[in-house]
Amino acid sequence: MTAHRAPATGISRRGFLVSAVVAGGFAVGFASPLSGAATRAASAAGQSAASVNTWIRIGTDESITVLVGSSEMGQGVYTSLPQLVAEELMVDWARVRAEAAPADPLFANPGTGAQLTGGSMSVRGYYTALRTAGAAARDMLRQAAANKFGVALADCVAANGVVSVRGTANSASYGQLAGLAAALPVPANPALTPASEFRLIGKPLQRLDVPDKTRGAAVYGIDVRVPGMQHAAVVHCPSVLGTLASAGPKPAGASAIVALSNAVVVVAATTWDAMQAARQLRPSWNIPAAAGNLTSETISSQASQLMKSATPVVAESVGNAPAAITGAARTIDVTYQVPYLPHAAMEPLSCTASVSAGQCELWAPTQAPGFAAAAAAAVCGISADKVTVHTTLLGGGLGRKFETDFVVQAVQAAKAVGTPVKLTWPREQDFGHDQYRPMALMRIRAGLSTSKTITGWWDRIVSPSILFQRGWIPAGANDSQATDGATELAYGISNRLVEYVRHPAAIPVGFWRSVGNSLNCFAVESAIDELALAAGADPIAFRLGMLSADPRSAAVLRAVAKAANWTSPPAAGRARGVALTRSFGSIVAQIAEVSSPSAGKIKVERVWCAVDCGQVVNPDIVEAQMQGGIVHGLSAAMWGRTTFERGVATPVNFDDYKVTRMRDMPIIAVTILASSQPPGGVGEPGVPPIAPAVANAWARLTGTRKRSLPLQ
C-alpha cells in the first residue's frame, strides 16, 4: 500500500492524531514524531510511515485492523484491546482483526509510558486511548459522509460499519468512506460512548486468536521461519555465577559455535542437530568462589540471620506498631517462607535474529519489544531505531519474557555466523537459567485487643531485590516490588509497620506473575487467619470487621462467601479457607475447599473466586484469567520450588517439576462483580490468594498451620 497524502494532524493529549489515506484504506491513531523502526517497518510492509503510526486501519474490504501495543501471552489483549476500538468505531466484531504493533514509543502503554506488557496494565493503560482512537475514526467517517451527501454531521449515523443519513436512503460503508475521511482534520476530543450504551464493552466476545490456536496456525516465537535461517541451542555455565573459560572444539553436527560470556550457542541445520551437538560440547567454565554460597540451605540461614540482625528499610509506617503489639491483650509472632520459583512457560525461550550491515531484525515472543530492540542495538553497535522487532505470540510469558537475555544471545549468534539464526533454549536451560521469583522470609508480629481487633501489625520481609540486582534502586532503598502486597492493606489497622531487608544472594531474580504479591499475600492472609483463630472469630466476619473503610473489598468477600455458601459447613472430611488480595487495581477473594485423601496429602476440591476489576471489558476473559491465575498459583503453592546447590538449579524439567494437571483440578467457580469504576488488572490478581486460601483451609481441616511453601 502507498500513501497518497501527508498526514493531517490535530493535537491530542499524548501527541498528535494522525490520519492518512493508504491505498485500499484509511488509518487513524495517535502519533508522535516517527521513529526509524516504525518507518522501516512501514517500508517493509509497503505502507507509508504515517499509515503505520496508527492504531486502526480500515480496508476497502471493510476489514478493521487494530494494532495492539501489548504482547499476547494468553491474557487476551488481542481481543480486549480491539474490543475497545470496535465499541467506539461502531463496527461488527466479525470484521475486526488484531495485529502486533511494531516496537515504537508511539505504541507505549499510556499507563506506564513504555511498550511493556506487565503489571496487568494493558486494559487499564490503553482503555481511554484506544476508545478515543476509535471514536475519532468514527467521527471522521461520519463527517466524510456528511460532505459526500451534503448533509449536516448530526444527520450522519454510524452503525455496523456503515454511515447512514437520517431520513434518507443515503448510506456509505466505512470502506467506501475511508479515502474521504482520511483527508479530514482529526477531532481532538471525540465523544466517547456512555457506559449505558456499550454494545461490546462488557460483553463476552469470542477471542480473535482462538481459531488459529485450535488449528496449529498460531505463530509463536519458536515457530518463526525466515529464509536462510539456521537453528541454534544454548548451553550455559551450570552455575548461575560462572563464566566461559573455553568453548572447546566444535562438535560434529554443528555448523558453528559462538562463545558468549557465560554460555555457548551451538548453530546447526535443525534444532535437534543443535541440541545434539550441544550435548557433545566440552566447554570449561570459571566458577567464582562466591558460587559456593549459593546453596538453598545457606541462603535460608542467611535470611534468618538477616531477619534477626539486619537494619531494615521502612516500607510503610503508621502509628506505633511495636508499642501497640507490646500492649496487646494477645499477640502472634509467626514467620513464613517461600522459595525461589521458575517461570516454566510452556514455550521455552526462543528468538530469531537477522543482522546485516547497520540493521537488525528480530522475531521474538517478547513482553518488552523496546527493551529487545535496545539490547539488540547494543550488540550490533547501532541505534535502537535500526532494529525492527516483530512481536510474535507468546507461549506464556509470566514475566520471564520481559527479559532480554535470550534476545541478546540470538543476535550475538546471528552476527557471528552471518545468517539469520533461530535460537531455542532446551527446556533444561530454560528451567536452569531463569530469573527466578525471589525466595522470601516474612515475620509478622501482631496484637489483638480484648475486643478482638488488630491493634498493631508489624511485618518484616527479607528477600532478594529484583530492582537492586538491575541497578534500578540504590542499596538501602525499599524494593517496592518486594513489599507489594504487604503495604497498603485493605484492612483498617491503626498501627502498622512494614519493613524490608534486602537479601544479597546473587541468584538472578525477576518478575514472576503477581511479583511481590505472590509472597506477601501468602504471609499476610495466613497471619490474618491465625489472628482470626486466636480471636475465635469467623475468618470472613473477622476480615469484614476491618473493611468498613473499603466497601469494595467487603463486597468481594461477601460475594465469595455467598457463592461458597460459607455459612453452611462443608461435607465431612473437608474444610474451607479464605484469602483476599487488593492488587493491580482489582480485588480478588478466593475460598478453597480441601480434603486429605491420605495422611499429609492435600487435595484441593473446589475454589470459589470473586473479583471486582472495575469496568469489565470482556467477562469471559476475566473468568479465564481468574481460572488460570488460580491454577498457576496452585501449582506454585502445592509443589513449586527451585533449589540451588553451589549456584546450580534443580529441577530442570517437568519430570521433576510438578504442576497442576487435569487430575489435580479443583472445580472453580468465578463471580465477577459489576462495577462502573475504572478497569483494574486481571492477569495477575487471580494468583496471590490461592496459596493462603489453601493453607488456611488445611489449618482448619487438620489443626496444623503450614507456614512454608510449597505445601507438599
Binding site: 490456536k213 535443525t270 472453580i668
Partner: protein
C-alpha cells in the same frame, strides 16, 4: 533416506532416521503446530496421532514412525471444522494456546475410544500440561464434543 506419511502425504527426508519425529515435523517439514515443550515425553505439547494413537512426538524417531500414518494438528481438519476444534472455540479454551494442539489431539483420541467419557476417564487420558490452567474449559469442551 527416511520416509514419513504425515496428514496423508508421503515425504522423503534426508534427515537422520534417529531424529525425533517432533523435529522432523517442525524443522524439516515446517509443520510447526506440533510444539516442543520438554523433550522428554512429559508435557504433551508435541502430541500427535500415530495410526490413530496419541504419541509424544519427541519420544519417537522418524524411523519409529516411518511405517505409520501420522496426523498432526494441521491434518485434523482442513478447515478447523473438526468437532473437537469447534468445541474448543465454543468453550473458548485456549489462553496462550501453546499446549492446545496436543490437548486437542489427546481429546480426539479419547473420544474415539470413549465417545461419552466420564470425568475420571478425562482425568486419566488428559495428562498434558497447560501452564495457563485451561483444564476446566478443556473438560467442558470434551463433554461438549461428546454431546455432538
Amino acid at each position: 533416506m527416511a520416509t514419513l506419511n504425515v496428514n496423508g502425504q508421503k515425504h522423503v527426508l534426508s534427515a537422520s532416521p534417529s531424529m525425533p519425529l517432533l523435529w522432523a515435523l517442525r524443522d524439516v517439514l515446517g509443520l510447526t503446530g506440533t510444539k516442543y515443550g520438554c523433550g522428554i515425553g512429559e508435557c504433551g505439547a508435541c502430541t500427535v496421532l500415530v495410526d490413530g494413537s496419541t504419541e509424544r512426538s519427541c519420544d519417537l524417531t522418524i524411523a519409529d514412525a516411518s511405517e505409520s500414518s501420522v496426523t498432526t494438528i494441521e491434518g485434523l481438519s482442513p478447515t478447523g471444522a473438526h468437532p473437537v476444534q469447534q468445541a474448543w472455540i465454543a468453550e473458548q479454551v485456549p489462553q496462550c494456546g501453546y499446549c492446545q494442539s496436543g490437548m486437542i489431539l489427546a481429546a480426539v483420541r479419547l473420544l474415539r475410544s470413549h465417545p461419552k467419557p466420564t470425568d475420571a476417564q478425562i482425568d486419566a487420558a488428559m495428562s498434558n500440561i497447560c501452564v495457563c490452567g485451561t483444564y476446566q474449559r478443556v473438560r467442558a469442551a470434551i463433554h461438549r464434543a461428546a454431546g455432538q
